[in-house]
């Protein structure tokens, strides 16, 4: 048996799933400020002697980044002997930067020699300046990582090395390293005390697989989009449909995602998270500011939302503002304890227009003709006839995230630039590493592999993003 948990900004959901994949029971609690109190309480309530592992999906990293809250001060070392001009730092968080000699040309020559002394002095200056964590990015370090590794060996502080996050393009790789370093202490505070007796604990990651807790504490950036990924995967498993479009309607927004052959479709354009350009493999996701808590007025729907204050601010609960939930309550589409439809000052036609318009907005952003499923708390506000007879609201809609986490497999993604002739060797490597990360050797297999050849490259190299799970 497995316990799956989804730690959201407002609520934490947990499900107990048996070996056939059936939900045995589920629980919900408001997310506590320290995270661990609510998670521990839910684990205690659901714990069963047959539980073999606990899987946690969280939007903790994403929320912290969106609000720029609880992040560490980062010292960044750039290995770039050519001393480039105007190099932007786009994370918009507290970062001190030191540029030192070194870095590599594309053919493997150092741009200028790397000096350990120069690196040591840079580390000392960064620490003296208040850096709590270090990040290192080297020119062409994804091909030649040795200088980054040398700096890690010199530092008294934990260091994030950009080449370990892969990602091509030095600006995006630097950003991934910087925000990873900035998120580490937050993750340690939230999750390191969760080590639960003898039951192994895993966190879900962007690729839909699981990371052992210790690895997740080192690499929190890999969990940034775990929330929507879990809900898309959970929904497809609940619906028993391996090629589907999933819409997760939450309180503030609706996320639209695509499942292909049982896995979440990835985006290949540059991904931007919290305004920060990244080049990590991320789900192809469209987020629309329409949710159950969206305020409604003459101006339309949203983007402002009552969020977690819905049950205080919404008119049906005695509040002052009208939300999409109020419209659904007035129409009798949904009944919620404590809600009074009479407090909603909308005519039947007005209420209907808002709900219809919200459904139309969501439908207009859906591409393709695969089966369509709705999950998330907000999905319950919409009767199925509003989806033009093509969408289905899943019965376990509100626990799809936790269920997705419970069913996730252990896995790993490698993102590398290699000569095309070495692709087979990389497949071996990813299978081997997945097993190291806890994948079942009998089930482990390559589930996604994307090859992008580099233009103008005499060595016929390609960026290969490969994921194995089991």
């Amino acid at each position: 048996m497995i316990i799956g948990i989804d730690v959201g900004g407002t609520f934490t959901d947990a499900v107990l799933v048996d070996d056939t994949g059936a939900i045995v029971s589920f629980r919900k609690k408001p997310t506590s400020a320290d995270i661990e109190t609510s998670v521990k309480a839910l684990i205690d309530e659901l714990m069963h002697p047959m539980v073999t592992s606990i899987h946690i999906g969280t939007t903790h990293a994403l929320n912290a980044l969106l609000q720029r809250k609880g992040l560490a001060s980062v010292g960044l070392i750039r290995l770039a002997g050519h001393r480039p001009d105007f190099v932007p730092q786009l994370c918009n968080i507290d970062v001190r930067i030191e540029t030192i000699g070194g870095g590599f040309e594309c053919d493997g020559r150092p741009i200028t020699p790397f000096s350990e002394r120069e690196a040591k002095e840079a580390i000392e200056r960064l620490i003296a300046g208040g850096a709590q964590r270090l990040a290192v990015v080297g020119t062409f370090s994804s091909l030649y990582p040795e200088q980054e590794l040398a700096i890690a060996a010199l530092s008294p502080l934990p260091v994030t090395l950009s080449h370990q996050l892969g990602g091509f393009g030095i600006i995006e790789r630097e950003n991934a390293a910087v925000i990873n370093a900035a998120l580490q202490p937050l993750f340690e505070r939230g999750f390191s005390s969760l080590k639960y007796k003898n039951t192994p604990l895993f966190l879900s990651q962007n690729n839909g697989g699981l990371l052992p807790l210790e690895r997740a504490l080192e690499m929190p950036v890999l969990t940034l989009s775990a929330g929507p990924v879990n809900s898309f995967m959970g929904a497809s498993r609940i619906a028993k449909c391996e090629d589907a479009i999933i819409v997760d309607i939450g309180g503030t927004s609706s996320d639209i995602g695509y499942i292909e052959k049982g896995y979440v479709k990835r985006s290949f354009r540059l991904s931007e998270v919290a305004g920060i350009p990244l080049n990590l493999p991320m789900p192809d996701l469209f987020s629309l500011a329409v949710g159950g808590g969206s305020f409604i007025d003459q101006g339309g729907i949203g983007p402002e939302s009552a969020g977690s204050a819905l049950f205080r601010e919404a008119a049906a609960f005695g509040g002052e503002r009208l939300t999409l939930t109020d419209a659904a309550i007035a129409l009798g589409y949904v009944t919620i304890p404590m809600a009074n439809p009479k407090r909603v000052s909308l005519s039947h036609n007005e209420a209907k227009r808002f709900i219809q318009r919200a459904a139309e907005k969501i439908l207009s952003k859906i591409r393709g003709h695969k089966p369509l499923f709705f999950v998330g708390g907000g999905a319950l506000l919409f009767p199925e006839f509003l989806w033009n007879n093509r969408g289905e609201v899943l019965p376990e809609a509100s626990v799809a995230n936790a269920y997705g986490a419970a069913l996730a497999e252990k896995g790993i993604t490698i993102d590398k630039i290699i000569p095309l002739s070495e692709q087979d060797a990389l497949e071996e490597e990813v299978l081997h590493k997945a097993i190291q990360e806890g994948a079942d050797p009998r089930k482990v297999r390559v589930v996604q592999c994307d090859v992008s050849p580099l233009a103008y490259d005499s060595m016929k190299r390609a960026r290969i993003i490969i994921t194995a799970m089991g």
Binding site: F86, R367, A455
Partner: protein, 313 residues
């Protein structure tokens, strides 16, 4: 007088990306650098009048896309190029201009203009992006690309004086030796030659390029991308909904619907995702695109122009 500022940079960069026709190198990275330069040195003037004896220097940042996304640009490289030019001609340049308006190099002169204290002349050599040094309005007008001035990131220079047939080979070999990336100045012209040897107005025109396209399709999904690397070029075709097929070699070259030609190089074919031009390297199955066609500058519509443009087809 027109200026490039932080506020209109985005519109200009988008125009350059469209004129890149899917190639011409990454615009986004260059845009970051220009933003940095504008913050440090202030807006850059765009001029359209010079004296007959003034020296105008078309510049570009040459390199494999792989390299320009890793190894950032240095001012030092262009300062070295300009110093070398001053020594060669015995006078200071009056203005810079983009060698190629399409793609990242439309932005290149604006990275360095502030530091060098030079304005940018409202013209370029091509009016779009093309992959070889020969494929320019200047060459069509009978000008020679040489002497070509190159510098690596550390400011080490090479000057190439050769026949037209050797230029491409010598420049490529030098660029590889410089780490597959260098600053370059070519087709350096006098004010008296500029009307003949350039596509005038292309810099100011780029600000409003995005309004001049003809739509060939909206919200169409990519069904397949077939590509390979041949002779150092990314070659292939992309198949979209509605029987649309686009052939590319670094740039988009030809678009057909059910076998009928809708547009072809030298006209500029552009695929956009959510309003952002998408390069040939970035195409993937499942992306939702808008397809637009932009007319090529008239110099490419002459018999000579069409013949030279066909060298890529």
């Amino acid at each position: 007088m027109q200026q490039l500022t932080i506020d209109n940079l985005q519109a200009y960069a988008k125009g350059c990306a469209i004129l890149g026709s899917g190639g011409g190198g990454d615009v986004r990275y260059r845009q970051y650098l220009v933003a940095g330069a504008l913050k440090e040195y202030g807006p850059v003037s765009i001029i359209n009048e010079v004296e007959p004896e003034d020296l105008i220097v078309p510049v570009a940042f040459l390199g494999a896309p792989l390299v320009s996304k890793e190894k950032h640009f240095t001012l030092q490289s262009f300062e070295a190029v300009i110093q070398r030019i001053e020594k060669y001609y015995g006078k200071k340049p009056k203005a810079l201009m983009p060698a190629e308006i399409g793609g990242g190099n439309g932005l290149t002169p604006f990275c360095i203009a502030g530091k060098l204290g030079l304005p940018v002349f409202d013209a370029d050599l091509i009016g779009r992006a093309f992959p070889t040094i020969k494929m320019t309005a200047a060459y069509l007008a009978g000008f020679s690309p040489t002497p070509v001035f190159l510098a690596d990131a550390l400011g080490q220079t090479v000057v190439i004086e050769s026949t037209i047939d050797s230029v491409e080979r010598l420049v490529r070999a030098s660029a590889v030796a410089m780490g597959s990336q260098c600053a370059i100045a070519t087709y350096i012209m006098k004010g008296s030659q500029i009307s003949l040897g350039s596509v005038k107005g292309s810099v100011s025109g780029a600000f409003s390029t995005s309004f001049h396209g003809i739509s060939l399709g909206k919200d169409i999904d990519i069904l397949d991308v077939i590509s390979s690397i041949e002779g150092g070029f990314l070659k292939g075709r992309v198949i979209l909904e509605g029987g649309i097929e686009i052939f590319f070699q670094n740039e988009y070259l030809l678009v057909k619907r059910e076998g009928e030609i809708l547009g072809k190089s030298p006209d500029i074919i552009c695929l956009l995702e959510k309003g952002v031009p998408v390069g040939t390297e970035e195409l993937r199955f499942g992306m939702t695109m808008d397809l637009q066609l932009f007319e090529a500058p008239s110099v490419w519509k002459t018999p000579h122009g069409l013949k030279l443009a066909e060298e890529v087809l």
